[in-house]
Every structure is written in structure tokens, then in C-alpha cells.
Symmetry: C2
Amino acid sequence: MSLPHPATEQLDLAIILAALGDPTRLSIVAHLARNEAEPLTCGQFLDLGSKTNISYHLAKLREAGVTRTEAVGTSRLISLRRADLERRFPGLLDSILASAKTLSP
Amino acid sequence: MSLPHPATEQLDLAIILAALGDPTRLSIVAHLARNEAEPLTCGQFLDLGSKTNISYHLAKLREAGVTRTEAVGTSRLISLRRADLERRFPGLLDSILASAKTLSP
DNA sequence: TCCTTTGTTCAAAATTCATTGAACAATTGA
DNA sequence: TCAATTGTTCAATGAATTTTGAACAAAGGA
């Protein structure tokens, strides 16, 4: 099982914005931001869609470079690539997360 | 000819990010930001695509609330809705424009 | 070993998106 | 009035996206 992640220098703005320009994925990212202390598993997003569908959206976020996914046992631990994003596009993620917060308090 | 623009309070984050998550539209917005002194016409984007195609992308940006389009003669003057965006999602547009700048210096 | 848990992959269907050319509309100027 | 300029709308097409269920795979525990 390969879980390819784009390198930091390869992160593309349009691809990242497209990945975040979807309600389900925006909810996933907001949820990750709210629980950055410990990474979350796929199963913790099942209220947002079916198992298959969440797997699809999480793959999109990973391929865009927004999240990192590491396999641990049968689970996948998902976390925001905050430091990488900050280095490539300073301030971008924070402003998007802040904007997302004005919607779901 | 009606040119409907969403109200500031109705601006939706996912819709805005989806509108900006396209290379052509990101170029359009970056170009608008570089020339905010005076609004631009559709014809000034023809290097990014065909006349019909640019009209399509400009409609997307307008419907998302990113741009404002006013008819003047046979032309359309297009400008960023910077103040509205700032009020609804403070800092968002600036951070996206700054990120876009790191790509095309 | 067998079963459960946790996710992925695959194929199919439905939807949406992007692009094009032809036709149209409105304004301006000769 | 006639023609040129500036964009939009329409229909069609191909591509990409989203969603679903069935089948599969890997790890862990009884």
C-alpha cells in the first residue's frame, strides 16, 4: 500500500484551493484543525459520508498535499500538513481555517 | 441583461475556494489584483482562453462573489470585490493573492 | 485459524465542469 | 443606416468529479 504525498515544493495553489473548495472536504479539514493534538482516523469522519466516499475525499486531500496519512495497524492516522503548507504558502491555511470558523461556531 | 451578484452575507467559503481552484480563474484574479487602479474588461483576458471560455470563467467568478461586473457601453468592467470579501472573510483574499504571487513573480 | 475492524480498490452511474463554434444582442462610430 | 466592437447565450462534446455497492486486503484478537 503506497500512500503518495506531494513534496512541499510541489504544492500547487490551484490544486489546494480546488481540494478545499468542497463542503465535505472543508468540514474534514476544519475537524482536523479542531483536533490537531492527536491525529484522527478515517472512521471519525463517517458522519460526513459513506466509508467509500470519505476514503475518496481523504485521498483528494492527501494528493493535494493538504493532509498527511500514515498507516498504523489497520488504521490511517490523518493530520494537517500545517508546517509544509505554511512554508509553501505562508498564512494561507490559517486564513482559510479562520474563514471556515465564521461559518460553524 | 441581468448580472446577478450574491450579497456579501451570502458569500460561501467552499464556493469561493472552488471558484479560485482553477488555473485560468486564478490567473484572472491575480491579474485583477495587479491592476486594481482601474477595472479591466473581458477582452484583456483573451490571452488566457477563447472569448467564450473567458466569458464562462468570468461568470463563475461573479457568481461566486469574487468579482463585480458592471456593464458600460458594450464593455464589462470587472473588479475584485475586495471590501466585501474582506468583510465576510477577513484576510482570506490577501493570503490567496500573496500565495499566487509566490508562483508568478 | 477464524472473525472482526479498518480502509482501499474497482466498476458503474450520475452529475458537474470546461471548452468550442455558431448565433445572437447591444452599443458605438462612420 | 451599416458596420464594427464587445460580450453573452446556446447546444454539443468530452473530460473530470462525486457517489454507491461489492469485493478485496491487512492487521489484531479470540
